[in-house]
């Protein structure tokens, strides 16, 4: 039991004190038993306040501390640090949330908020009284990281980590690295070619001995926690092993009887079951698409390196310290009939159009017809802020990408005309220059609102796009178009299993969710698991690289020291009360409870290295012999009592 408790109530510069009467709170708790001092602070988190608390602990000899301020998610560690510097065990510190869960939640009711604050602070004091000193365990960590996804982002993370001395396992689900960027020609804002960028990254990766690249690989199992994860990676057979000349590969492709749409060209072309690496995709070795291959053996007859029948799946076990998920995005696939998509044959998506530009060298031709007028319709699959659409977010990259594509086609084919049907061009930052360039070269921009979206119609054997243009005072403007390009947004890549496996929470937009949007954009609630690139939110290439390298910096700074302090919140068994029924061991998802002999009696014991402190074992005990540190019967009970008090 703690006898000298220091209580600090924070104004949060008005965030709390505007609604909660701080003086009243102070008065109410001043006379609580064992409260030694009560103070208020303008900003408890400010350096000067922290120093004051440290001083108080030292000079007044406090044995526990309560700060009533904001959510513990923000400052629990800050004040635990204060406690520690003052000479107090950090676990004798209790944070009471009177901002998010009080002053703000009840800003409509200041009197009520004050009343609640008093109860909450009293509960905090009760909990502090019952708090016990805990010491965190240090564990050795492995300076190795699994980077999942080998697009530009994943490859850049891998390079950054490798150069900082971290061992990298780069795990790519498809048979080729390069991701989406390999599919693009000229990219904004530098006009670099996407395939050249991926080629450069791949070459660098080849030079690093501490990067192990696995293609056709998937993470299938994860155990352990930050610093020490044991993972299993399944590697699918490539179906090609050895060498073949270009000519032989060509022949094999010709011989393959299977045909399906080529995802690399977004269905503009067909491919066989033999996957041929395209410009920008690496390694430059073919693979066999097992899902389609009918095992006719035609390819094998041409070169024995083709092994359509091979089934030798490999399972690899790796020991790593952290993850960076860099799984990228999928372009939004418009619904059938959305702006005529799938119904009118010259309506395609922006990614398809970008491939079309790559496939047409001298003249822009689509389905045998020369293309002169191109109508771009923006925000397809983004900013669906009506009730029907599910993607309320802005996909960020599309305005820049579409205007940049407009500039690219004009430069490449000269006589094309671009019409941009948009909802307000969002070429933020320096991308504004691309918008300027597009306008200056004669691209026409028309703006619509969600209430009256463009109509795409087929009449007199031509496709027309019609819109109520708000830039022309709502006049209806129409044009014929040889090609309608739907500027599709980003959706997170289909990777539900990975999200579940790594336990990364999803945001409202279904992208992976970071721990704090502003200051911790690459960290997740799961220690040691980072998210980067477009798996977190739509981004352009530059932003993807920045976030990928930031994730590298973060995970490296955690692992580079070789050791880590663990949360000391663990389950504890009272051997006196335990009668070993095994229910707790059954409940534990981490195999942390074992049966041991305690002075002739079989009892449960917690293996501290495995215990994650979830507490799942505690409610199932029929004799209530197991408790979680920091959440003991005494502490929670005292809190309930304090909160219930009127």
């Amino acid at each position: 039991m703690k006898k000298k408790i220091g209580v600090y109530v924070c104004h949060c510069g008005g965030n709390i004190s505007d609604y909660v009467d701080i003086e009243k709170v102070k008065d109410a708790v001043r006379d609580e038993a064992d409260v030694f001092l009560v103070k208020n602070t303008l900003f408890a988190c400010a350096d000067s306040s922290q120093k004051m608390m440290e001083e108080d602990i030292k000079t007044q000899g406090l044995d526990a501390m309560v700060v009533a301020s904001c959510s513990p998610k923000l400052h629990l560690n800050t004040f635990r640090g204060v406690a520690q510097r003052g000479g107090l065990n950090p676990y004798n510190y209790v944070q009471v949330n009177i901002r998010e869960q009080d002053s703000w939640a009840h800003s409509d009711n200041p009197a009520g908020a004050t009343e609640k604050a008093i109860q909450l602070v009293k509960a905090g004091i009760a909990r502090a009284k019952e708090s016990e000193a805990l010491t965190s365990m240090k564990i050795a960590t492995t300076n190795a990281v699994a980077v999942i996804g080998a697009g530009v982002g994943g490859m850049r993370t891998a390079l950054g980590l490798a150069d900082m001395g971290t061992e990298v396992y780069l795990i790519e689900k498809s048979f080729f690295v390069g991701g989406r960027t390999a599919q693009w020609g000229s990219v904004a804002p530098t006009n670099d070619r996407g395939d050249v960028l991926t080629a450069g990254l791949f070459n660098e990766i080849q030079k690093r001995s501490n990067i192990k690249l696995f293609t056709g690989a998937e993470l299938i199992e994860k155990k352990g926690s930050v610093g020490n994860f044991d993972i299993k990676v399944k590697i699918r057979p490539r179906g090609f092993d050895g060498n073949a000349t270009t000519d032989e590969i060509q022949k094999a492709v010709k011989a393959c009887p299977v045909s399906t749409m080529d995802e690399f060209n977004f269905g503009l072309t067909q491919r066989t079951a033999i996957l041929i690496p395209q410009k920008g995709q690496y390694p430059q070795q073919p693979a066999i698409d097992k899902a389609l291959c009918n095992q006719c053996g035609a390819c094998q007859k041409i070169n024995s390196s083709f092994q359509p029948a091979s089934t030798n799946e490999e399972i690899l076990s790796l020991h790593i310290g952290g993850f960076v998920a860099n799984t990228g995005f999928d372009p939004y696939e418009p619904a059938k009939g959305e702006y005529g998509y799938g119904e009118i044959d010259n309506v395609i998506t922006l990614p398809q159009f970008k491939r079309l530009i790559e496939l047409n060298d001298n003249e822009l031709v689509f389905k045998g017809k020369k293309v002169k007028k191109i109508a771009y319709i923006y925000c397809v699959g983004s900013r669906q802020d009506d009730d029907e659409g599910k993607n309320k977010y802005c996909s960020r990259y599309c305005c820049t990408s579409a205007t940049h594509t407009g500039v690219t086609v004009k430069n490449k084919y000269k006589d094309v005309l671009n019409y941009h049907f948009n909802r307000g061009i969002r070429t933020y930052g320096k991308a504004e220059l691309i918008y300027g360039q597009a306008s200056q070269q004669g691209d026409v921009f028309l703006q619509f609102t969600l209430d009256s979206i463009p109509q795409v119609e087929r009449k007199h054997n031509k496709t027309y796009v019609k819109v109520k243009d708000i830039l022309t005072a709502g006049k209806t403007i129409e044009t014929d178009a040889d090609l309608v390009v739907l500027v599709t947004g980003m959706v997170p890549r289909e990777n539900v299993e990975l999200g579940h496996l790594l336990k990364i929470p999803e945001g409202r937009d279904h992208f992976f969710n970071e721990i704090h949007m502003k200051l911790k954009p690459v960290e997740t609630v799961i220690d040691g698991v980072m998210i980067a690139g477009t798996s977190q939110a739509p981004k352009n290439i530059l932003e993807t690289l920045n976030s990928s390298m930031a994730a590298a910096a973060k995970v490296n700074s955690v692992l580079t020291k070789g050791e880590l302090s663990l949360e000391p919140t663990l389950a504890k068994v009272n051997p006196g009360a335990c009668t070993w029924c095994g229910k707790c061991a059954e409940a534990c998802p981490f195999d942390a409870i074992v049966q041991v002999d305690n002075e002739g009696k079989m009892v449960a014991k917690v293996n501290e290295a495995n215990c994650k402190g979830c507490g799942m074992c505690t409610p199932v005990c029929p004799t209530d012999a197991i408790d979680l540190d920091g959440f003991t019967n005494a502490q929670i009970g005292a809190m309930i009592d304090a909160l219930a008090e009127l």
Binding site: C12, G13, G14, N15, L42, F43, C45, A46, D47, L74, G160, M164, G165, V187, T190, D192, L197, R383, D385, K392, Y393, C394, R396, C399, G424, R426, Y428, G429, K430, A431, E432, L433, I470, A473, G507, D509, F511, H516, M517, K518, L519, P521, V522, A537, P538, I541, L542, L545, N546, S547, S548, M549, A550, A551, A553, K554, N556, S557, V558, T560
Partner: protein, 440 residues
């Protein structure tokens, strides 16, 4: 900071560093922290008296509406306390020259504070007795400060300094100081250090709207900049509420003029500043909270709500009643009572329209801060055409500059919001660490 000074005393060599980070805003602090965590010895140089840059002065941040001070101060304290990070405030980099061993010789100019840093307790007794006032630059001139002052309440280090230009040398502060820390004999100090690498995190300058005469900034009292409004809304605000500077009235019709100094060739800044739409939207939300009766109109060209959760935040502001008007403000004229007439073309109707407001906020843009190029001697830090630090390998290694061993973080490369700044700072840390590994 004072902790650091103590640490400095015990440290054997306070002149050799792995990295020198120029600018202790949120980008510089983040790079320094990451590198410090990796075990490198970092020197953080800041020309202002306190660290935290512009972010620490903001009210709240979009779209989470976290109070900026609440999330910045922990980062700033962590930086200040980090065992591997040394901070010099009130210090400017004079010259940077590469040595024969590829390290950089740096000359720093540390301005006198006239206050002994380690002894000041931040009690403000000196401020109380100081008889002179001048405009408070940390409140963007909305209110006054004394000649001896603590920059602002949550400044780090939270210690006093003397603005000698505005001091009348009466000595009252020296008499009043309980810890005898005022020292008028302090002189400018030239410090020589070496660093193996440099991170440029010098941030941005705010556009000064005085050059757009049509808006009357500087002449009309109730035309203020968004940064001034940011201060009015911040917890450490200059007034007791949001008030008009002309007469202390609570405004009830507030207008925002978007793209003031952005997307504008006539002022030499053709690019979009990337944050103004969102900070204005955030301020609108905050104002609707602080002044429930107020009408907020936002005059825009395009709304750039592009980041994670931004579009949703913009829609939320609209739902709360913010009045978004498509049309850039052409002209502002002042009425006798201090109210302002805004003339614009309402794009939706195509008609010239005039509206009266009692306070106007100019959503000013961000400009490059190119002065840093001058300090490099013997080689040139290249800038891009709009004067931001050039990223020669933008889509391969965005933190690289034209100089080997010199990296760039945050808004020194172009306008960006806080998350982008943090990520860019992380990228700079990765590049720097990789470089240092290669070097050794």
């Amino acid at each position: 900071m004072t902790d650091n000074q103590n640490a400095a005393a015990t440290c054997l060599d306070e002149t050799q560093f792995d990295v020198m980070v120029i600018g202790a805003g949120i980008a510089g602090a983040e790079s320094a922290l990451k590198l410090g965590d990796m075990g490198y010895k970092v020197l953080l140089v800041e020309k202002e008296p306190s660290i935290g840059g512009k972010m620490i002065l903001l009210s709240k941040v979009f779209p989470t509406l976290d109070c900026a001070a609440c999330i910045t101060t922990p980062k700033v304290s962590e930086t200040a306390r980090h065992p591997n990070i040394t901070i010099h405030t009130l210090t400017e980099v004079e010259t940077i020259q590469r040595n024969s061993d590829r390290h950089f010789s740096v000359q720093l100019n540390k301005k006198p504070r006239y206050v002994v840093e380690k002894d000041c307790t931040g009690c403000q007794e000196c401020e109380n007795v100081c008889p002179v006032i001048t405009k408070d630059q940390f409140q963007f001139n909305l209110t006054a400060r004394k000649a001896v002052y603590i920059p602002f309440n949550i400044a780090n280090p939270r210690i006093a300094l003397i603005d000698i230009e505005n001091c009348m040398l009466c000595g009252a502060c020296e008499k009043a100081c309980p810890s005898n820390c005022i020292d008028f004999t302090q002189k400018e100090q030239q410090l020589q250090i070496t660093a193996k690498s440099v991170i440029v995190a010098t941030g941005f300058k705010l556009f000064d709207p005085i050059s757009i005469e049509r808006y009357g900034y500087g002449r009309y009292k109730n035309v203020i900049t968004s940064m001034q409004m940011e201060r009015e809304l911040a917890p450490t605000r200059p007034f007791n509420n949001v008030l008009r500077p002309s007469d202390g009235k609570i405004p009830d019709k507030i207008a925002y003029v978007f793209c003031t100094g952005s997307r504008d060739h006539t002022v030499g800044n053709p690019i979009c500043s990337q944050v103004c739409c969102m900070y204005s939207t955030k301020q609108a939300q905050l104002l609707m909270g602080a002044l429930p009766m107020a009408d907020i109109s936002l005059y825009y060209i395009n709304i750039r709500a592009f980041g994670k959760g931004y579009n949703e935040f913009y829609l939320q502001a609209k739902d709360m009643g913010a009045n978004y008007v498509k049309g850039k403000i052409g002209k502002i004229t002042e009425k006798e009572n201090g109210n302002l007439i805004l003339r614009f073309e309402d794009i939706l109707t195509g008609k010239v329209t005039e509206k009266e407001h009692d306070m106007v906020v100019l959503s000013v843009g961000l400009l490059a801060n190119p002065a840093i190029t001058k300090v490099f001697k013997g080689e040139k830090l290249e800038l891009d055409p709009i004067n931001y630090v050039q990223q020669p390998n933008m889509l391969q290694s965005p933190a690289q500059t034209s100089l080997e061993g010199v990296f760039v973080a945050g808004t020194a490369t172009g306008p960006m919001d806080i998350p982008d700044t943090i990520m860019s700072a992380g990228a700079a840390a990765t590049e720097t660490s990789s470089y240092l590994k290669r070097l050794s």
